[in-house]
Each structure stands twice: as C-alpha cells, then as structure tokens.
C-alpha cells in the first residue's frame, strides 16, 4: 500500500513568539493548535489524532498534554527522534489516516527553550541526557551538540577541501530570507566576513554557523486527501516519506554518510518524483554543515561537491535551488527542535503564501529533518509534498 497522495496538510500555523517567559510550553502548543485549526477551518472537535514530543517534555508528555487539552484522541504518537520528530509525525499521521486509525490528526510542538535557558548546543550532557547505556562511552570526554556537527565539518573539509567561506554562504543566504520574514528573530543582513569574524564555538564552526535558541511552536493539521479537497485552504499533498537513523555503527561508521541518504531515497522512490522536480527544499539547519551534508546525502549533488553546490547564491529564494525561505534555525527560530517549521514553511510556499520570499512556480517541495547529533547518533526524516 502506498501513501502517495492519500493525505494532505490542511492547516499550518507558526507561533509568532520567539521569547515567551510569560507562557508555558503547553500554552504555546495550545495556541498553535488554535492557529492551525483556524487555518484549516476546523474545530478541536474534528481532531481525533495527536502527535507531539518535546525537549521540555517528559517521556509521557503527550498524555499530560492530552490532559491539558482535555483530548481523548483515537491515535497518539510521540515518536521522539530529535528535531526531525515532527517531520516523521507528519508521515505517521498520513499513515494513520490512510489506515483508518484516525481522520484528522494534529502535529504540534512548543517550547520555552530560550526563556527557560536550556544550553542545548553546549550543555555537554549529550542529547540523550547521558543516561542511555551508549552515553557512558561519550559523556566523560565533553561531547557537545555543536562539537558533534563540528567533527563532521572538520572531516568534510579534510576530505574535500570544503571551506569556511562555503559554509558561511549558507548562513548568509538564510539571513537574507529571514530579512523578508517579519517574525524572524535575526533580520539584519550579514556577510561571509561577518560569519568568519564571529567567534569559534567548536572548530571549525563559528557562532554564526550555529542555530539560535529561541522560544516558539507550531502546529499542522493532517487529513485524508478526500476530506482535504473541501477545506478552507488549498491542500498540500504528502507524496512520499522516509525515516531512519545513523550512529557509530560498532565503530565502523562512514561519518559523512548521514541518515538523509536512506530517508531521502525512500521518500523519492515512494513519491515517484525526481530531484529535478523539487522547487523548494526545507533542510534542517541546526548548523551550516548540516545543510551541506544533507544536500549531498539527499543526492542533489555528489558527495564532496556540497561546497560548490551551496555557493554563488544558488540557495536563495530566487536562485536555482531555493532552501529555507523562512530564515531557518540559523536566523528565524529554533526552540530546541524545528522540524515542524520546515513543514509549515513548505506548506505556505506550496500555497503561494510566501509573500516577498515566495519561490516562483513552487509546486513540489522536499522537507528534511535531522534530529540529534550528526557526528554521534542522529535521525533523518524526509517528506515530499506537492500542491496538486
């Protein structure tokens, strides 16, 4: 059974907050659900499926959130694989709807990572918090989230001559997009020189190679393709999905092969589209290097050619290969996890709601979320979406 075009995103909402010391995590989530249901023209009574997870949440947080919302859904999924979780949730919602487990599923995220002062990138405890059996071999050496990605960048530079300037160009383009997004946290344009002049957090990554920590949240409403045709907004169909993980592999890992290689291949095969068909790519940008190796592993360029591929303005909203038109985690928002914003922005662009940053003739979009730590353990989830 194929999921192709069986379900669609019918509502999407990004919470405008970037700093909300006056709100709880659940409040941001509830407000996001209200926004997404308004966008869809549905009410909370229509919702019978719920997917969520979060960095501020307990392992059973989804049950607590159902309590807060007084919801009793027929389908729940709190797959927790890092920032990519919400990309995977969107796929799981489509599968659940197609299998008849629920009819209208909400995917939601909210976090007060900034106002609660989480040191996500440089906390040193490892993404698993140091409590999983595998963490004992890492935590004593001071791994950080930034450091894990930095080691991928170091190896890529060594093997292929990728330069700090090429990585910086990703941050510069993303900031340009943020300058066209009124809700983005950092909107003043930056240059390659600005990125290279920012302090090194973990070599070779500079501060401006790293995403921010903000507050924020968002929600999506997923329904069957049949139901989607009679909604308020133009449906955004789910064509193909893929997800997997990569890790140290018994100590035998090829570190420049990341989860996107497998999840991307699955999503392309299932969607039945080719790379040249993609009009917009929303690529999780925890760090500039994340974007570069993800593009290589998704097959948009060959391994080792990512540096050249991201150069020359190609990634701009009006370039040959637009990515991250909302300003990404580098410049718009990153409340600990940002997979949901990738799907929200792709939905807006496919509907033609991109405003000044609208990608021309945007009909098919690819979304790829990376969760966890690229150089140790991470997940990848890919979606291919289309507006017809």
């Amino acid at each position: 059974m194929s999921l192709k075009k069986k379900a669609a995103v019918v509502g999407a909402y990004e919470h405008p907050t970037r700093f909300a010391p006056d709100k709880s995590m659940f409040q941001i989530m509830a407000e996001s659900i209200r926004g997404a249901l308004d966008d869809a023209g549905l009410t909370i009574k229509d919702v019978d499926g719920l997917c969520t997870t979060g960095i501020g949440m307990s392992a059973m947080g989804i049950v607590g959130f159902c309590d807060y919302m007084n919801m009793t859904p027929n389908f729940v999924d709190s797959t927790s694989i890092g920032g990519s979780s919400f990309v995977a949730h969107t796929a799981h919602a489509a599968a659940a709807i197609t299998a008849g487990l629920c009819e209208v599923c909400v995917v939601v995220y909210g976090s007060t990572a900034a106002s609660s002062r989480f040191a996500i990138g440089t906390g040193g405890g490892g993404i698993g918090g140091g409590g999983d059996p595998c963490d004992q071999y890492e935590v004593p050496f001071g791994p950080t989230t930034v450091g894990s990605y930095a080691m991928i960048a170091q190896r890529h530079m060594h093997d292929y001559g990728t330069t700090p300037e090429q990585l910086a160009e990703i941050a510069v383009t993303t900031r340009l997009h943020a300058s066209m997004n009124p809700a983005a946290k950092y909107r003043d344009p930056i240059t390659v020189e600005d990125v290279l002049a920012s302090r090194i957090v973990s070599s070779p990554l500079h501060l401006l190679d790293c995403c921010m920590i903000s507050d924020g949240g968002g929600a999506l409403v997923i329904a069957s393709a049949d139901r989607a045709r009679n909604m308020k907004k133009k449906p955004v169909y789910i064509l193909g999905t893929g997800e997997t993980v990569r890790h140290v592999a018994d100590g035998h890992r090829d570190f420049l092969e990341v989860a996107a290689a497998q999840s991307g291949r699955l999503a392309f095969d299932r969607a039945g589209v080719a790379h040249k068909d993609i009009d917009l790519a929303m690529i999780y940008d925890s760090f500039t290097i994340t974007v570069l190796v993800t593009l290589e592993n998704l097959g948009f360029c060959k391994r080792g050619e990512g540096g050249a591929f991201v150069s020359g303005g190609r990634l701009r909203f009006d370039g040959d290969f637009p990515i991250n038109t909302d300003g990404g985690g580098l410049s718009s928002n990153h409340p600990g996890m940002r997979g949901i914003f990738l799907v929200i922005e792709a939905t807006k662009q496919l509907r033609g709601e991109g405003g000044p940053r609208q990608v021309k003739d945007c009909n098919i979009a690819l979304v790829h979320g990376t969760g966890g730590t690229l150089g140790t353990r991470h997940s990848g989830a890919t979606l291919i979406l289309a507006n017809n």
Binding site: Q136, Y137, G147, I200, V248, G251
Partner: protein, 141 residues
C-alpha cells in the same frame, strides 16, 4: 591516589552499567580492549553483550595496541558542563584504532593548533577517580 581522592573531579562521569563493568575494570588496569564476535568475526566498539550482526553472545576480547590515527576532531571553545567549562579549549576527537574501530576521546598533551586529521596517536590512561579510568590519546612518540 590519596591526592586524587581529595581533589574533586568535576567533569561528568560515566554511568557505568553492569553489562560492561569488566571493560571499565580493564581500563583501571590500563588495558584497552575491543570486542570480536567468535561466531561471525565482526569487531565492535563500544563494548556490549552480543554481536550486532549475528546476535551471538560469544565474544572474544581483543587487547588493543593503543595506537591509532585521528579520524576527525573539534577544538571545543564552549561547554557549560562542570569541569569542561574550566578546561576550555579542549580537543574532542574520534580516533581510529589500528584494530579498525573508531572511538570518541580527547586528544591531550599537545597544543590544539597542532591537532590534525591523520595524526598518529597513542593511548594514555587518565585515572579520573578511584573508580573510573578514561582512555585518552596523545601524539604518538
């Protein structure tokens, strides 16, 4: 040893689980091991009770030479964790052992500017606490 017990070790310590306590005990004797499956021959690090390829629990312990090369690294300039925030910058690295597996470690006894991918390194044993010894690496001599 008495001096170490009075000097508080601030960095995060491993939550050593019973499954792999013998491996940690070997480090206390300043011996580094990886594992090899007796059924299919696959080598593995980090250590665990059964082979990931054939699920066999029959395991041979292979004593490592302690030599390898730096596979990749990062000079860490920011880490809020206790112990590390006092010792910035430090080098986090994957070392590929001569026995063919990569492990996460620190490169020590050398200036961070001198660290390069491919650099030959050798193990040193840091007795962090009376209960925990860590395998770190320095440039090969």
């Amino acid at each position: 040893m008495a001096e170490q017990q009075t000097k508080k070790y601030l960095k995060p310590l491993p939550h050593i689980d019973e499954e792999m306590r013998p491996w940690w005990e070997a480090l206390q004797r300043h011996e580094l091991y990886i594992q090899k499956c007796r059924q299919c021959g696959e080598t593995r690090y980090y250590p665990r009770a059964q082979c990931t390829q054939c699920l066999s629990p029959k395991t041979e312990w292979v004593r490592c030479s302690g030599r390898g090369k730096i596979y990749t690294f990062t000079v860490t300039h920011q880490n809020q964790a206790a112990g590390f925030r006092e010792s910035l910058p430090y080098v986090l690295a994957y070392v590929e052992l001569d026995e063919g597996v990569k492990l996460l470690t620190n490169i020590v006894e050398c200036r961070s500017e001198e660290v390069k991918i491919g650099m030959p390194v050798e193990v040193i044993y840091e007795d962090a606490t009376p209960a925990v010894t860590l395998a770190k690496f320095r440039p090969a001599r």
